[in-house]
């Protein structure tokens, strides 16, 4: 019996409701006390093209929603059986909706896989009069087959729909669930070993999507203005904040384009409001010029970037980490900014708060760089990991009227761009008496007035660089890069963002085979913590850089600051799918085979 350890995939066509099926199942399993992680794989299409969602569950923490191999497939048509058939493990399961094509053709039959046929759509249409409810019929079939408790499941479904759509819809969904359950009970003979059971005394968790965590982080951090232009996979943040911000005196402006989005946000930030803009690669490209402006006029802004497959429109709904070059180096002129990257949903929450604090403390744009996998998938997080305790709002050298008065009294004048030792200047906001200055895109003197004086120019440039490359770098304020795994391992791995998930799982799996690996999770991508990075690489024989893009962008960044390039092994991928633990394990073994 394989209990409470399952990789389950629902696959259909866009518009089919596969994602709904997945959502309902997840909710049930979550309430049964299991830990979950999802991996949604959908096309840039509203209806018709193949779509699927993988849900992984365990009775303990799970890092990531995807594996090379699959236990369970719920397929709404034969096309989807074909697509996923070979991902199934021996002993795996297929639930196939045979409403349209009664039988699967021989080439779709594997001996080592268990098949269950159920006319889901037909039951929904003919017995329930509503085709889309086939998703819940499917839930019924799967629940039965997985040996779940009927009453408990029914209760969860009822509650789920009741909260969202009321009594009537809740009842009809329960009805659909029961039809599925009963069909299975009457017609299907359980042959497989998979079982999902209630976990006693389960840890309390949130089941939450990265974008949802970022939006919450923004609210808690005091963000009161967002302006963005919709784009997958970042839109959720805009939509959530459109709904939530007004509750707290905030404003959401759907901009006419990305150029205006970032300039709206900048205007609010200049006026003293914590502000952000959110986007993905194409929008980031369009925001380039303004990022440079914000470096120049030292306006704090959080730029949330959920990466997807590029270049250009590319693979608009698929994951990739190919905007790193641009995040770090994009824009004309010398325009250093801070780039930070959370590796999981918990960090997405906390590092959003960091981003706002860093932006104001260092009076700079901060890019919060994530990716489609973290942004759009849900993960179980212990409730104590997302709390408001310990949250600090640090506004840096933003002056109150009193502080401003004091400066003027003491120094006779207020200079917004005062050249200070740490490179950070006192900051006033419009409306304050005595705080007048010009936020200038031209090089400027200390009061903000345009200058072309070479000495002042050099001093201003030095100041701007100093605050990022020295003050911020040494401050301890930047999210620390973390070392996971086995410190004394001779193989190291470096990655950032979602690859944290598959790498952590690979480390566990390898450890169970006796292979020790260590992992440097980079959380501040710019400016790089050179010392920690160098120490990490120095102390390993070989270091594998997990780089989800074609040009090895992360490896390139590392090569700039670490000069023993031979130590680096690059593991690349750019086919629109996330790394899996298996791929990383394989690479580690390969490298091990020729190291020492």
């Amino acid at each position: 019996m394989k209990k409470n350890d399952l990789t389950f995939r629902v696959a259909g066509r866009a518009g089919d409701g596969s994602l709904t099926t997945g959502d309902v199942l997840s909710k049930i399993w979550k309430d049964m006390g299991l830990w979950l992680a999802t991996y949604k794989d959908f096309p840039s299409n509203i209806r018709g093209l193949p779509t699927n969602m993988t849900i992984r569950l365990k009775d303990r923490q799970i890092y990531y929603g995807r594996k090379n191999r699959l236990d369970y497939l719920l397929a709404f048509d034969d096309t989807n059986v074909k697509i996923h058939l070979h991902d199934l493990v021996p002993g795996g399961v297929i639930i196939y909706d045979n409403s349209v094509k009664k039988e699967l053709p021989p080439e779709l039959i594997r001996d080592d896989v268990h098949y269950y046929y159920a006319p889901l759509k037909k039951i929904a249409k003919e017995e329930l009069g509503l085709e889309v409810i086939k998703n819940i019929v499917a839930v019924g079939v799967a629940s039965y087959l997985l040996g779940m408790d009927q009453d408990r499941t029914k209760e969860i479904i009822y509650k789920f729909f009741y909260a969202r759509k009321g009594e009537k819809i809740a009842s009809s969904n329960v009805e659909a669930f029961l039809r599925g359950w009963n069909y299975a009970k009457e017609n299907l003979q359980k042959k497989d070993e998979y079982v999902v059971e209630e976990v006693p005394d389960a840890k309390k968790t949130y089941f939450i999507m990265g974008n949802e965590a970022v939006a919450f982080g923004a609210i808690v951090a005091g963000c009161r203005f967002i302006s963005s232009y919709p784009i997958t996979p970042a839109t959720d943040v805009l939509e959530i904040l459109a709904r939530e911000l007004p509750k707290y005196g905030g404003v959401m402006i759907q901009a006419e384009d990305e150029l205006s989005a970032i300039n709206y946000a900048a205007g609010a930030a200049y006026a003293g409001v914590r502000a952000m803009t959110s986007t993905s690669g194409p929008g980031l490209s369009l925001k380039t010029e303004t990022i440079g402006l914000l470096v120049m006029n030292e306006t704090p802004l959080v730029i949330y970037v959920a990466q997807r497959g590029g270049p250009s429109t590319g693979l608009p709904t698929k994951p990739e980490q190919s905007d790193l070059f641009h995040a770090v180096f994009g824009g004309h002129g010398d325009a250093p900014r801070i780039v930070i990257a959370p590796g999981n949903v918990k960090e997405m929450y906390w590092m959003t708060i960091d981003a706002f604090n860093l932006a104001e403390k260092y009076q700079t744009p901060v890019i919060l760089l994530t990716d489609q996998i973290l942004a759009q998938n849900k993960f179980s997080v212990p409730v104590e990991d997302i709390t408001i305790e310990g949250v600090r709002i640090e506004r840096g050298k933003l002056l109150t009227q009193e502080e401003l008065n004091e400066i003027i009294e003491k120094e006779g004048q207020f200079l917004r761009y005062r050249i200070t030792e740490d490179g950070i200047s006192p900051r006033s906001i419009p409306g304050q008496e005595g705080g007048i200055y010009t936020a200038n895109s031209n090089e400027h003197q200390e009061d903000g007035y345009t200058t072309e004086d070479p000495k002042m120019r050099t001093a201003m440039m030095d100041k701007r660089l100093r605050k990022i490359y020295q003050t911020a770098r040494k401050s301890g304020d930047l999210p620390e890069d973390l070392i996971h795994g086995y410190e004394d391992a001779e193989i190291g791995i470096i990655g950032y963002g979602y690859t944290y998930g598959p790498i952590m799982e690979a480390i566990e799996n390898l450890a169970s085979e006796g292979i020790k690996v260590k992992f440097l999770q980079m959380r501040t991508l710019w400016p790089v913590d050179t010392e920690k990075l160098s120490q990490f690489i120095d102390s390993a024989e070989k270091v594998i850089v997990v780089d989800h893009n074609a040009q090895a962008q992360l490896s390139t960044l590392i090569k700039i600051v670490y000069d023993n390039h031979d130590k680096l092994e690059i593991l690349k991928k750019y086919d629109g799918y996330g790394f899996t633990p298996e791929i990383i394990e394989k690479k580690v073994k390969e490298v091990l085979s020729y190291v020492g």
Binding site: K204, Y206, F207, I208, E212, F216, I219, V220, G222, R224, F225, S227, E244, L245, P246, K247, Y248, G249, G250, V251, I253, A255, E256, D257, L259, S260, A261, N263, Y264, A265, A266, G267, A268, Y270, A271, G272, V273, E289, T290, L293, N297, V383, I386, I388, I393, P430, G431, E433, G434, G435, I436, Y437, T438, A439, N440, S441, N442, G448, Y449, T450
Partner: protein, 295 residues
């Protein structure tokens, strides 16, 4: 916005302009100082957001909070300043290139949003700072650096676009007529909603065709002996069209819509009337409500 303090135009003095002698932008700077002083708005409650161009330098030359941004992005910034803090008087300012060429999209949409700011375009029908290229308002046939054989395209019609897009205050004035300009600026600033002022601001260095004299010959004041209803959008459009069809330039307060709720107020209303700058951002228990959905 209420009259608060007794102010003089010189209270807004700052760095001395580096514009060419005779440039129309001087009148705008002076007019703005006068309008603000007469309205009694103290410098620290004024924000001047400007673009890049000779005109864009205005935020360097007036004592007020300034935002000398990048080329073409004046309007989003200015609108957001007002959305963030409604107590500020926000003036957006820039050139015809800045506002109608690279900034055209924001102009299109600012008219729709009707945020309570004043937008002054110093329209000299040329790119001044980059030394004399055609702008969207340059007239067909005009020979410039980028139109050696004369401008080919139909000129942009900012007044009509503003009217078409729902603007609630549309005016045109002339740097050669300071009293008119001051009056228009004052009305524009007082108007509650997006106030659009296209100011004819001759470039004496690069536009030797559209000179002060040329403008004097072509201007037709529509607000002297007004013969249409200034509160009727369609009549205003008709008027603009009619004057232009005679090869003239309509100058005056062209259209005013009163009583329409400014966009920033609408957005504020969604937030219970609280402006972002006044929002409490201390960490609150009530935030936790949000997390319930994920339990």
């Amino acid at each position: 916005m209420s009259v608060k303090v007794k102010l003089k135009p010189t209270d807004f003095d700052s760095h001395f302009p580096t514009w060419c002698p005779g440039c129309g932008d001087y009148a705008v700077l002076m007019g703005l100082k006068r309008a603000l002083a007469e309205l009694g708005i103290p410098p620290h409650e004024v924000v001047v957001v400007s673009g890049i161009g000779c005109s864009g330098k205005i935020s360097d030359y007036i004592k007020a909070y300034g935002y000398h941004g990048i080329h073409g992005r004046v309007l989003p910034t200015a609108q957001a300043v007002k959305l963030a803090n409604p107590r500020l008087t926000v003036i957006a300012a820039g050139g015809d290139g800045d506002g109608y060429a690279i900034g055209g999209n924001h102009f299109l949409h600012a008219n729709r949003r009707n945020i309570d700011i004043t937008y002054i375009v110093m329209n000299n029908q040329i790119y001044g700072l980059t030394k004399g290229q055609a702008s969207p308002t340059s007239l067909p046939g005009h020979k410039t650096g980028t139109s050696p054989y004369g401008v080919v395209d139909y000129p942009m019609n900012p007044l009509m676009v503003a009217l078409a897009q729902g603007a609630t205050f549309v005016a045109k004035t002339f740097s050669g007529n300071a009293p008119h300009l001051v009056r228009v600026f004052k009305e524009a600033i007082k108007h509650r909603g997006f106030s659009f002022v296209d100011d004819i601001s001759p470039c004496v260095t690069w536009n030797r065709f559209n000179t002060y004299e040329w403008y004097r010959e072509h201007i037709e004041y529509v607000d002297e002996n007004r013969d249409y209803n200034v509160h009727d959008r369609l009549e205003a459009m008709d008027k603009v069209k009619e004057v232009m069809s005679r090869g003239k330039i309509p100058v005056g307060i062209i259209y005013v819509e009163e009583g329409t709720e400014p966009g920033d107020e609408k957005y504020r209303k969604l937030a219970g009337g609280i402006a972002p700058i006044d929002a409490d951002i201390s960490v609150k228990e009530e935030y936790l409500e949000y997390l319930k959905q994920f339990e």
